[in-house]
C-alpha cells in the first residue's frame, strides 16, 4: 500500500510537472477547452472540440500571431469531462491551477457548467470562460461572474433568435397549436421554460412533454401529443433524438410538420418525402454559404483536410464551425487589447468589438453573443428555402 | 427424555421423504440413524434442526414442541447440526473459523459487555477464545489452529465443522454423515473424538451409511428405508434384522 502510494505520487507529481517545463520558455498562449467528448450527451461537446483544433493548427502553421512586437503561438489543452461532475472539477482545476490557462472554451453541457461554476467563480477576473451551454444564460453578465461569456445566441428577448424563429413560423404557417417534446435534462427543461412564454405571448396554445434521455421509441409520447392535435411538432434537442422523433412521427402519421431550434437539417433531409414542413434554425446553411462565402469554403476545406473525412453538411457541425470562429475572435481581441494575459482588458475589448468571421459576431450587454443565422425551411420532397436573419 | 419425535412427516410435492417417524433420545446417549442414500436421513436431520418445516408430526425438546421453529431458535435451545460437506474460507485460519461459530457462546457469556467486546475483542472476549481452543482440542485440531483452512485435509475440514458446532455448546449434536469420504485412520480419529464429545456430556445423533462405524459405539440405532423406520433398537439387533439386511446391506455389498 505504502509503496504503491509513493510510486503513484511520483507519477502524479511528474504528470503535474511536465506541462509546466514544456511550455514555459516559448511565447505561447494556452487555450483550454473543457467539453464532454465522450459519454451519452457528448454530441455537442464532441462537435465543438472539432472546430477549435482546426483554427489553432492554422494559426500556428501561419507562424502564430503578433501582439505588440512578440509573436505568439497557441497551445490547445482540450480535456474530456464525460459530463461527470467529478471529472469536470478535476479537469478545470488542472487547466486553471496546473496549466495556468487563462482562456477556456466550453462547456456546452449545462449540467457540467453548473458543476464547475462554484469553483470557477473563485477565479473570477483571472480567466475567461467562453461556453455555449444554454444554462450559462442564468449566470452570465451578473456581478461576480465576469469570467464567463456565453458564445451562443440566446433564444428569448428582442435580439433572441428564438423569437425570430417563432415570428417566422407564424408569418409562414399561422399555427394555432404547437407541441413541444424535449429531453428530460437541463437543456430540455430550459427550452420548455423559454418557449412556453414566447408562444403564449403570441397567442399560440402549447403542450410540453419530456422524454427520458436514451429514448428510442417515441410512438407512445407522440400518440399522446397527437391527441392534442398540434399544427407543428417542436422537438428537441439533439440529432441523437431528432432522427427518431421525425421518422416515427411521420411513419405513425402523428405529425408531419416540424419546428426546431436545436439540431440540424439532417433529420429533415432524411425524411424529406414524408414530411410536409420542416423549419430549422441553423447557424449557417453550409451548402449555400459554401458557394457564396469564401470564409465558409475555406473552413470546409480546412475541415476536410484536417480530419481527412467528408464534411457532414446535413449535420452542419454547428458548434465546431462557431468554435473555429471563436478562436480567431479571441486572437483578434488580444491583438486589439495589445495583451495576451490582461484578462480584464481582453474581455472588455472582446465584448465591445464586432468580429467578422464566418459569422458577424457581437455581444449584448449580458456578455452574451449575438450573431446572424439562417433559417432553413424544408418542404415536402426536399424543396429548400433559406432565410438569412440579422438580429 | 431430551428429544422426543412423534409421527414426523415431510412431503415434497408427491414424494414422501420422511414418513411418520417417531423415536426418542435420552440425555448422554449416542443414537445412530442409518439407511441407504435417499432414505430420508438428511431430511430427517434438517427437520430436527428446523431447516425444513415438517408437513406433520411434532418434535419435543425437553417437553417443548419445537417443530417448525426457526433454526436459529432451535440452535439457541442447544440443538446444533453439522453439515456433510463443510464450506470454508480458504484464507481464514482454523481458529478464525471456530470464532465465526461463537455467536451462541458469545450471547451466553457471563461477564460480557457488548460494547467492551466491540471496542476491544482481545480483552472483551478472553472467555470466548478459551472456549474456541477447548473446542479445537476436543476435535484434535489444536495443532492446526493457526493454519489457513486451505491447508486442511478433508478429514480435518469435516472435523473443523464439528469443532464449529461444538463452539455452540450443544446439548444435542446432530451429525450429518461425519464419516463419509474419510479414510480408515480418519474414521478411527473421528470415533475417538465422538467418544470424547460424549464424555464431555454431549448427546449425539449421527446419521451415516457406514453401518460398521455406527454400530461400534451407538447405544441405539434406527434403520430407515424410503423415509420409513424399518427397524430400531440395539445396533447389532438392528443389523441382524432381516428387513434391514435385505433392504440395506444386500445393496451396499453390490454397490
Amino acid at each position: 500500500m505504502n509503496s504503491l502510494l509513493k510510486s503513484w505520487l511520483a507519477g502524479a507529481c511528474l504528470a503535474a510537472a511536465i506541462p509546466n517545463f514544456a511550455f514555459s520558455q516559448t511565447a505561447t498562449v494556452k487555450l483550454g477547452q473543457i467539453e464532454a467528448q465522450t459519454g451519452p450527451n457528448a454530441i455537442y461537446g464532441y462537435m465543438s472540440s472539432q472546430g477549435v483544433p482546426i483554427a489553432v493548427d492554422e494559426i500556428n502553421k501561419a507562424g502564430g500571431f503578433k501582439v505588440g512586437d512578440t509573436t505568439y503561438k497557441l497551445d490547445l489543452l482540450a480535456v474530456d469531462t464525460r459530463g461527470d461532475p467529478k471529472e469536470a472539477t478535476i479537469q478545470l482545476k488542472k487547466l486553471l491551477e496546473q496549466d495556468k490557462v487563462k482562456f477556456v472554451f466550453g462547456p456546452f453541457l449545462s449540467n457540467v457548467f453548473v458543476t464547475i461554476f462554484p469553483y470557477a467563480q473563485q477565479f473570477n477576473g483571472k480567466f475567461l470562460m467562453m461556453g455555449g451551454g444554454t444554462r450559462i444564460h442564468e449566470f452570465v453578465g451578473k456581478p461576480g461572474n465576469e469570467f464567463v461569456i456565453r458564445t451562443w445566441n440566446w433564444d428569448a428577448g428582442p435580439k433572441g433568435f428564438g423569437e425570430k424563429m417563432v415570428d417566422y413560423l407564424i408569418k409562414t404557417a399561422h399555427p394555432k397549436k404547437v407541441a413541444m417534446l424535449f429531453q428530460n435534462d437541463s437543456g430540455g427543461k430550459i427550452l420548455g421554460d423559454i418557449y412556453e412564454p414566447i408562444f403564449k405571448a403570441r397567442g399560440i396554445e402549447t403542450m410540453t412533454e419530456y422524454f427520458e434521455p436514451g429514448t428510442k421509441d417515441f410512438s407512445p409520447v407522440l400518440a399522446k401529443i397527437a391527441g392534442f392535435q398540434p399544427d407543428y411538432l417542436f422537438p428537441g434537442y439533439s440529432d441523437a433524438a431528432l432522427y427518431d422523433i421525425v421518422r416515427q412521427s411521420i411513419e405513425g402519421n402523428y405529425s408531419k410538420k416540424f419546428f426546431l431550434v436545436r439540431g440540424s437539417t439532417g433529420p429533415g433531409l432524411k425524411n424529406k418525402d414524408g414530411l410536409e414542413d420542416y423549419i430549422v434554425y441553423v447557424p449557417k446553411d453550409f451548402e449555400e454559404a459554401e458557394k457564396k462565402e469564401p470564409k465558409v469554403k475555406h473552413f470546409i476545406d480546412a475541415y476536410k483536410a484536417f480530419y481527412k473525412r467528408d464534411f457532414p453538411y446535413d449535420q452542419a457541425p454547428l458548434c465546431s464551425s462557431s468554435c473555429y470562429d471563436h478562436v480567431y475572435m479571441l486572437v483578434a481581441a488580444m491583438q486589439k487589447a495589445g495583451s495576451v494575459d490582461d484578462v480584464e482588458k481582453i474581455r472588455t475589448t472582446l465584448l465591445a468589438m464586432t468580429y467578422e468571421g464566418m459569422w458577424k459576431i457581437s455581444f449584448d450587454d449580458h456578455s452574451e453573443q449575438v450573431f446572424d443565422f439562417d433559417i432553413v425551411h424544408l418542404k415536402k420532397g426536399g424543396a429548400k428555402e433559406v432565410v438569412h436573419v440579422e438580429p | 427424555m431430551l428429544l422426543k419425535v412423534e409421527n414426523l412427516t415431510k412431503r415434497f410435492g408427491g414424494l414422501v421423504a420422511v414418513s411418520d417417524i417417531s423415536f426418542a433420545i435420552e440425555k448422554g446417549e449416542i443414537i445412530g440413524i442409518f439407511g441407504p442414500n435417499g432414505s430420508g436421513k438428511t431430511t430427517l436431520l434438517s427437520l430436527l434442526a428446523g431447516l425444513l418445516p415438517p408437513t406433520a408430526g411434532r418434535v419435543f425438546w425437553k417437553g417443548r414442541d419445537i417443530a417448525g421453529e426457526r433454526p436459529n431458535v432451535i440452535a439457541s435451545l442447544g440443538v446444533i447440526k453439522t453439515f456433510q460437506n463443510p464450506q470454508l474460507f480458504s484464507e481464514l485460519s482454523v481458529f478464525e473459523h471456530v470464532m465465526i461459530a461463537s455467536f451462541l457462546a458469545f450471547t451466553r457469556m457471563k461477564d460480557h459487555s457488548r460494547l467492551r467486546s466491540f471496542l476491544s475483542p482481545a480483552k472483551g472476549e478472553t472467555t470466548l477464545r478459551l472456549r474456541a481452543e477447548k473446542a479445537l482440542t476436543l476435535c484434535r485440531l489444536q495443532d492446526t489452529a493457526t493454519k489457513p483452512a486451505a491447508e486442511l485435509s478433508y478429514g480435518e475440514e469435516k472435523m473443523l465443522g464439528v469443532a464449529m458446532a461444538m463452539m455452540c455448546e450443544p446439548e444435542l449434536l446432530l451429525l450429518d454423515e461425519p464419516a463419509s469420504g474419510l479414510g480408515n485412520d480418519e474414521i478411527q480419529n473421528l470415533e475417538n473424538v465422538l467418544r470424547d464429545l460424549r464424555a464431555h456430556g454431549t448427546t449425539l445423533c449421527i446419521i451415516d451409511h457406514k453401518v460398521a462405524f455406527l454400530a461400534k459405539f451407538a447405544d441405539q440405532a434406527i434403520a430407515l428405508q424410503q423415509g420409513c423406520k424399518i427397524a430400531a433398537g440395539h445396533p447389532y439387533d438392528v443389523l441382524a434384522d432381516p428387513g434391514v439386511v435385505k433392504a440395506y446391506l444386500g445393496r451396499s455389498h453390490h454397490a
Binding site: L4, L9, A15, T89 | N72, F118
Partner: protein
C-alpha cells in the same frame, strides 16, 4: 487495526505535495473510498450483492442539503436527518428483499430496481429536488476545531482533511465491526446461510443490519461528495455510480480493509495519470479493470497481502 497505519502518510502528504490537482483527486478518492468501504461491509462481509448504495449515496446528498435549506440547520444535523431517512428506507427495502428470501442475482436486480426508482423520483419530483436541473450547493460544512472554534470547510486543504478524517473514522468503525461478533455473524452468513442459522444466528436480522450500515456509510459519502462538488444532480443515484463502487472493491480486494481505498485510488487517479485521447482513456480503463479481475482474483491488496504484514480479513 495496524493496517490503518498505512493512512498516516496521507495525513503528512499535503506538506510534500502542493499541487491542488493531486489533492483534489485524493479528496474524491477518499469520498468514493467511503462509499466503497460501505459496500464492502454488506458484500465483502455478509456476501449480499446490493445495487442500492448509489441510491443511498444520492439520498445522503439530497436530504442533507434539502434539510439544511428547509430547516436552516447545520451540515451535520442535516446529515443526521439523511441518516434517519436512509435507515428507514434501508429497513423497508431490506425487509422486503430478505423476507422474500431474494438471493444473489435476484437481490441485486431488485435493489437495482429500487435504486432506479429513487433516481427517477429525484429526477422528476421537480418541486423539491429541482429535477434534472439539480441544485447548486453554496453552503459549506462547518467543524469545531480546538482553538479556532467553528470553521467553514471551503478550500482544498480543509476539505482534504475533513474527507480523510471521515474516511479514517469509517475505516476504524469497519475494522471494529468486522472483528466483533457482528462481523463474525456476517462472515457466517457469507459462508453459508443455513450453517449460520444452525449456529444460532438470526440471518434475517443480520443481513438487514449489514444492508442498513452500508447504506448509511454510503449516505455519508454522498453528503460529502455533494457539498464538495457544490452541485447535486439525479445522476448521483445512477447505476454507474453503484458499479464504480463495486469495481473499486473488487479491484482493491474484496473482504479486505484497505481494498476499497486502494481500488478507489486507482480508479480515480488513473484517468489523470495516463494522458490519452478521450476515447482511448475509456478503453484503457476498461482493459485495466478486466486485467485486474482476471489476473488478481483477490484484488490488488490480496496480491500485496504478502508484503502487507498481517493480512486483514473482513472477519
Amino acid at each position: 487495526m495496524k493496517t490503518l497505519l498505512c493512512l498516516v502518510p496521507l495525513y503528512l502528504l499535503p506538506l510534500l505535495v502542493k499541487s491542488d490537482v493531486v489533492l483534489t483527486i485524493l479528496i474524491f478518492t477518499f469520498v468514493l473510498s467511503i462509499l466503497a468501504v460501505g459496500f464492502n461491509i454488506v458484500f465483502g462481509g455478509a456476501g449480499q450483492l446490493t445495487m442500492f448504495h448509489a441510491a443511498a449515496f444520492g439520498i445522503g446528498s439530497y436530504v442533507t442539503f434539502l434539510s439544511m435549506l428547509r430547516f436552516g440547520i447545520s451540515f451535520w444535523l442535516g446529515f443526521l436527518v439523511a441518516v434517519a431517512i436512509v435507515i428507514l428506507i434501508s429497513i423497508v427495502i431490506g425487509w422486503i428483499c430478505f423476507k422474500f428470501r431474494l438471493k444473489e442475482f435476484y437481490f441485486a436486480v431488485v435493489t437495482l430496481a429500487f435504486a432506479e426508482l429513487c433516481r427517477l423520483v429525484a429526477l422528476n419530483w421537480t418541486s423539491v429536488t429541482n429535477g434534472t436541473l439539480g441544485m447548486l450547493v453554496l453552503e459549506k460544512p462547518t467543524v469545531w476545531l480546538p482553538g479556532s472554534g467553528v470553521v467553514k470547510i471551503e478550500q482544498t486543504g480543509p476539505w482534504y482533511f475533513l474527507t480523510l478524517v471521515s474516511l479514517t473514522g469509517v475505516l476504524i468503525f469497519a475494522v471494529l465491526l468486522m472483528r466483533s461478533w457482528i462481523g463474525r455473524n456476517f462472515s457466517a452468513i457469507r459462508l453459508n446461510e443455513d450453517l449460520a442459522q444452525t449456529l444460532g444466528i438470526d440471518t434475517f436480522r443480520y443481513k438487514l443490519l449489514a444492508f442498513t450500515i452500508s447504506n448509511v456509510i454510503a449516505a455519508l459519502a454522498g453528503a460529502l461528495y455533494g457539498f464538495y462538488t457544490g452541485y447535486i444532480e439525479p445522476a448521483y443515484l445512477a447505476v454507474t455510480q453503484s458499479l464504480d463502487a463495486i469495481a473499486m472493491v473488487l479491484l482493491g480486494g474484496v473482504s479486505t480493509i484497505l481494498g476499497p481505498v486502494v481500488g478507489a485510488l486507482v480508479l480515480t487517479s488513473l484517468p489523470h495519470l495516463i494522458e490519452l485521447p478521450a476515447e482511448m482513456r475509456v478503453a484503457v480503463y476498461g482493459m485495466i479493470l478486466i486485467l485486474v479481475i482476471l489476473l488478481m482474483p483477490r484484488g490488488i491488496v490480496g496480491l500485496f497481502a504478502g508484503l502487507l504484514k498481517g493480512r486483514v480479513n473482513a472477519a
